[in-house]
């Protein structure tokens, strides 16, 4: 395994044991490969996200862990046991469905008790656990309510309780927040994180919302066209994208085509740049440089920094907390974000339309992406 450059969320220590291991899993629907030879390991107690655009195979992958779909090739190992062919009702996992899939003909209590009833647990024990689950999701007193009388956020929490009350080894969440409005989504993110930390259950979270994945996950697997583009701790995914797809899908990124001149020097349409010590390239090699908009520095006076060039402010987007500048330099467009701090010190100035500015690209923040521009537009 490669050395981990970044720590997991909140510096958490994860278990040594593997909760879930996928070995060369492939799933075809007709000619199309929905999941293409995916291998990964998810550790005990981890908050793991599968992130990607719709149709990337993340839900199919989750369904194979749940047991609703069987892989055409490869193995699914849960808690150290091969569960590739085991039906869903015998797996130690539970699922929170995207549309909640609550039983409309049952009360809240009956919904939550369903899994325990299937396990033939004694009645008083079921009642006790249902009570525990209702307190867990902050809905005590709702036992006799019918689920169709409840709001989206409440139903979402009942679906969560219905799954968690069974004490699964792994909880699978299929875009559980996507149907809710922004404010509620943000609240539930925090609730989910706290719950996961408190219960210590492994969460596998499927989402297309990169912010959701960044906020909650220990590690993220970014998926595209049935394959994993990149897998790593959250910060690593954001700071060191390995492919153009990841750079563009997670946050925003400027991609600049470049040709290596020396092991740590490249030529681009906007000038020659030096790179960080860790990068080594073969002269003549074609690569892409990726730099995040907030990592570009702008100056009115020429600063004494490496990788400095002139650009013109083509457009300004004011978002309240940020000023976003669209810069033009030798035909190359660059997005740049600065905090709206309202101070006019060097490095913090505000600029106007058509102003000529000095741009500095810090060598350590220029990420080299091997391979071409292919897939650089995740929405294409």
């Amino acid at each position: 395994m490669e050395p981990t450059l970044f720590r997991t969320r909140r510096d958490r220590k994860l278990g040594e044991n593997m909760a879930v291991r996928l070995e060369g899993v492939t799933k075809r629907f007709g000619e199309q490969k929905a999941v293409d030879n995916v291998s990964l390991e998810i550790r005990d107690g981890e908050f793991f996200s599968l992130l990607g655009p719709s149709g990337c195979g993340k839900t199919t992958l989750l369904r194979m862990i749940a047991g609703f779909d069987t892989p055409d090739e490869g193995r699914v190992i849960i808690g150290g046991k091969d569960m590739t062919e085991v039906p869903p009702y015998l797996r130690p996992v539970n699922t929170v469905f995207q549309n909640y899939a609550l039983f409309p003909h049952m009360t809240v209590e009956q919904n939550i008790a369903f899994g325990l009833r299937m396990k033939k647990m004694p009645r008083d024990e079921i009642a006790r656990r249902v009570q525990w689950a209702l307190e867990l999701i902050n809905l005590p007193g709702y036992e006799k309510r019918r689920t169709d009388q409840m709001s989206g956020g409440q139903r979402q929490r009942i679906a969560l309780a219905r799954a968690l009350v069974n004490e699964p080894e792994v909880l699978l969440l299929d875009e559980p927040l996507s149907a809710l409005d922004l404010k509620l989504r943000q609240e539930l993110r925090v609730d989910l994180m706290n719950l996961q930390e408190r219960l210590g259950i492994t969460f596998i979270f499927v989402t297309h919302d990169q912010e959701e994945a960044l906020v909650m996950s220990d590690r993220i697997a970014v998926m595209n066209k049935g394959r994993i583009e990149q897998l790593g701790p959250t910060e690593e995914i954001y700071e060191l994208p390995k492919t153009a797809f990841v750079a563009k899908f997670i946050g925003d990124s400027n991609l600049i085509p470049a040709q290596a001149l020396e092991p740590r020097k490249v030529r681009t349409p906007i000038g020659e740049f030096v790179l960080d010590d860790e990068d080594t390239l073969t002269p003549g090699q074609e690569v892409l440089l990726s730099i995040r908009p907030e990592k570009i520095r702008l100056f009115r006076e020429k600063p004494n920094l490496p990788n400095v060039f002139r650009a013109k402010v083509d457009d300004i987007i004011y978002t309240g907390s940020e000023n976003q500048y669209v810069l033009l330099a030798d035909g190359q467009r660059l997005m740049c974000e600065t905090l709206n701090q309202d101070i006019q010190e060097p490095g913090h100035e505000e600029f106007t339309y058509d102003e000529e500015v000095w741009v500095a690209l810090t060598p350590e923040k220029l990420v080299v992406i091997q391979g071409g521009v292919e897939g650089s537009n995740p929405y294409a």
């Binding site: 009702y89 699922t95 609550l102 069974n166």
Partner: protein
């Protein structure tokens, strides 16, 4: 909401809201039923017209004659079993259609028989069941002696099931179509094996459709007379045949009305008993 509406205004509001519905129901349900009720209490004149005296004599006659009681019993019996067969066939069929890729085509196939007149469809069964008919052709082709299939109770059952199957399938299909199938997966996920998952997660959601289909099939199946007439060869007399006879050749509208009222009372009694078993909710649902 405005406050203190005058009585006139409230009347106006009522007429505008429930008025039209109440009007049609009164015109086509309440008034005809009342007419029949009155007729059932009258007597037959010498020319077959309705004349006084009023009294319960038609009802007394109906229940004092074991023949009539047997007829209504047989009607309920045949109607009940036809409905059971229809449910056994129609329940899986509704599910099959609801999850099929070609549900429009299949639904059309269910509805297509209605394009042909009911009588013609019943006559078509004669072609199937008669001595030199399709079925006997098949039987003799395999070397068996031809069977006496017409008239027979079997033919009555087959034709009844055939005729009323769509009335069961369509309302049930509407209920099945609305089911969210991820609930079945949720049940598996929570540890239910396939049959249990279906029984606990899906079946309860089909009960209203099942009940609606039952009513739509059972009531006309009990009251039918054409099928028994044509395929039962006059040997199988149902309550429908009796009523038809009284209004037709027997020219005793008063007794026919009484028989109709008895049939209606039987069906309503059945429904009421069912609702009682379901508790207060059941009665409410029924309405």
């Amino acid at each position: 909401m405005r406050e203190a509406a005058t009585p006139w205004e409230r009347l106006r509001q009522m007429l505008l809201t429930i008025g039209p519905g109440a009007f049609w129901l009164g015109l086509f349900v309440l008034i005809p039923t009342l007419i029949m009720l009155v007729a059932s209490l009258m007597s037959r004149g010498s020319l077959g017209q309705l004349v006084p005296p009023f009294g319960l004599h038609n009802y007394l006659r109906f229940f004092s004659d074991p023949l009539f009681v047997e007829i209504i019993g047989r009607s309920l019996w045949i109607g009940f079993w036809s409905t059971v067969f229809i449910m056994l066939l129609g329940y899986p069929l509704a599910f099959y259609i609801a999850q099929s890729r070609h549900k429009e085509v299949l639904l059309l196939l269910v509805v297509i028989p209605f394009f042909t007149n009911f009588l013609i469809r019943v006559y078509a069964w004669i072609v199937v069941f008669q001595k030199e008919g399709l079925l006997n052709g098949l039987i003799t082709a395999f070397g068996f002696p031809p069977a006496e299939l017409l008239p027979s109770t079997l033919a009555v059952y087959v034709a009844t099931v055939y005729t009323y199957l769509p009335f069961f399938v369509l309302p049930l299909y509407a209920a099945v179509e609305r089911i969210d199938w991820s609930q079945l997966e949720a049940a598996y996920d929570l540890g239910a094996r396939p049959i249990r998952a279906f029984w606990e997660a899906i079946f309860p959601q089909t009960v209203p459709g099942l009940f609606a289909g039952f009513l739509l099939v059972f009531i006309p199946a009990v009251g039918t007379f054409v099928i028994a007439d044509l395929l039962g060869g006059g040997k199988i007399t149902l309550i429908g045949n009796l009523i038809q006879l009284q209004f037709g050749s027997a020219q005793n509208w008063a007794f026919g009305s009484a028989a109709s009222m008895v049939l209606m009372a039987m069906v309503l009694l059945g429904l009421w008993l069912y609702a009682r078993t379901q508790g207060e909710r059941g009665l409410y649902k029924l309405v």
